[in-house]
């Protein structure tokens, strides 16, 4: 499984970041974490979280009030 899904819809800030952070701890190189959330704070939080944890923000999109972020742990160089 190369993509792990995390449903944070209906969770208020900072719970999405808290849960994503724990999921990132278990993320293997090459794996992608896909997070769906509805808290508006996430728009700023997830790009910052990706930088902070050294992950690549593969995509960030919003549809019908749901934001979806995909963060990848790159293979070690």
């Amino acid at each position: 499984m190369n993509e792990i899904a995390l449903d944070c819809r209906g969770l208020l800030c900072p719970l999405p970041v808290y849960q994503a952070s724990r999921a990132i701890n278990r993320l293997l190189p090459g794996q992608v974490l896909r997070v769906e959330c509805t808290d508006p704070g996430s728009l700023a939080d997830f790009p910052a979280l990706a930088r902070q944890r050294g992950l690549t923000l593969v995509s960030a999109e919003e549809r019908d009030g749901v934001q979806m972020f995909r963060l990848r742990r790159e293979l070690a160089a």
Partner: protein
């Protein structure tokens, strides 16, 4: 039966055991049951009865080698509470208030705490089968986290850099709030919220304050406690000021970025809603160094195994001018056992083993 009833239950110890006769019925000779106040004959129905109150006060112990020069100094040893800290009083009142208002029915609890409130809430909640989640700030000692887990609480550690954008220093509070308020949780969690709940202040207004008044026979002139949730300083302060407005109330504030669990620097953390500044006469800043140095003196010179915040509070007491301070009472919020790992580090740093 409410938990507050059980908390003062030992007063009714002379009665038949619960269930064998209606509580409070007249005795065989028509008299009310005798109050059992002889400590040598005291038994407890339940650990909750050990939580301090006016008829079961925590000890007030004279400081003979540290404390205000030229005045009587006493430390109120809150670790004599059954779950180990002053927060036993708070937790009891918080839960009882929520029960009275119907906020507990079928719900779980979530609370931000540096540990002691969590430990007391976890023990009380365990007795009643209520699940508890605790959000705990980074830097809380491992011992406290272990105790919370032993009591069956779910522990959410809140790293300092949890919110990568604005890094609030009160991340544990924000996280607990989010657990309580998130629509996805559908109101499953109730948050006692010791920082904003007037029952926290009431616990100290009704127990800690009157205990100090009784134990000093009204001679207390100065009261010293820390800024934390501010329940103690606000509740005891209000009680003492009502008795005698000239009693001086001194708050102890740690430095920014301090390592004194339970205390708060109100420049870096938001002032709790329950803080009543009208009862404060002075705020004394005590940095980590002097606080830990005083904790060590309390261990070595007074035989008092206190937590770090007690060191800060007694360090502030020692700076008072004894002649104007008069009989001074400080709070020792908890004991030292939970901080063995903290103290080990300090001993290492100071190289004095």
């Amino acid at each position: 039966m409410s938990i507050l009833d059980t908390a003062v239950g030992w007063l009714r110890y002379g009665e038949p055991a619960e269930g064998s006769a209606p509580a409070g019925r007249p005795g065989p000779n028509g008299s009310r049951p005798r109050l059992q106040t002889d400590p040598a004959r005291r038994r407890y129905r339940d650990v909750r009865e050990l939580i301090a109150g006016v008829h079961n006060p925590t000890p007030l112990v004279r400081l003979n080698r540290v404390g205000p020069a030229g005045a009587e100094g006493y430390l109120k040893l809150e670790w004599f509470n059954p779950f180990g800290s002053i927060k036993d009083r708070t937790a009891l009142y918080l839960l009882e208030g929520m029960r009275r208002r119907g906020e507990l029915a079928g719900r779980e609890l979530v609370e931000p705490t540096s540990g002691n409130t969590g430990i007391a809430l976890a023990a009380l909640a365990a007795l009643e089968g209520i699940p508890l989640t605790v959000t705990i700030p980074s830097g809380a000692p491992q011992e406290k986290i272990t105790l919370l887990r032993m009591l069956g609480a779910t522990v959410m550690a809140t790293p300092d850099d949890l919110c990568p954008v604005d890094n609030p220093s009160d991340g544990a509070i924000a996280l607990a709030r989010a657990v309580a308020d998130s629509p996805a949780h559908r109101g499953r969690y109730a948050m006692p919220n010791q920082y904003a709940n007037p029952d926290n202040v009431r616990a100290h207004y009704e127990t800690t304050g009157p205990e100090i008044w009784e134990q000093t026979e009204g001679r207390v002139r100065t009261f010293v406690a820390g800024f934390g949730t501010c329940g103690t300083i606000s509740g005891v302060g209000r009680f003492l000021k009502e008795r005698d407005p000239s009693i001086r109330v001194v708050a102890v504030e740690p430095q920014k970025g301090h390592h004194l669990p339970g205390l708060k620097n109100l420049q870096e953390a938001k002032a709790p809603a329950i803080l009543d500044r009208s009862v404060l006469d002075d705020v004394v800043r005590v940095d980590d160094g002097p606080a830990y140095a005083m904790a060590r003196r309390l261990f070595r010179e007074e035989g008092l195994i206190v937590g770090p915040s007690s060191g800060a509070i007694v360090a502030a007491m020692a700076r008072l001018d004894g002649a104007s301070a008069g009989l001074t009472v400080g709070i020792s919020p908890d004991g030292g056992h939970k901080y063995a790992s903290f103290y080990a580090e300090r001993l290492e740093e100071e190289g004095s083993g």
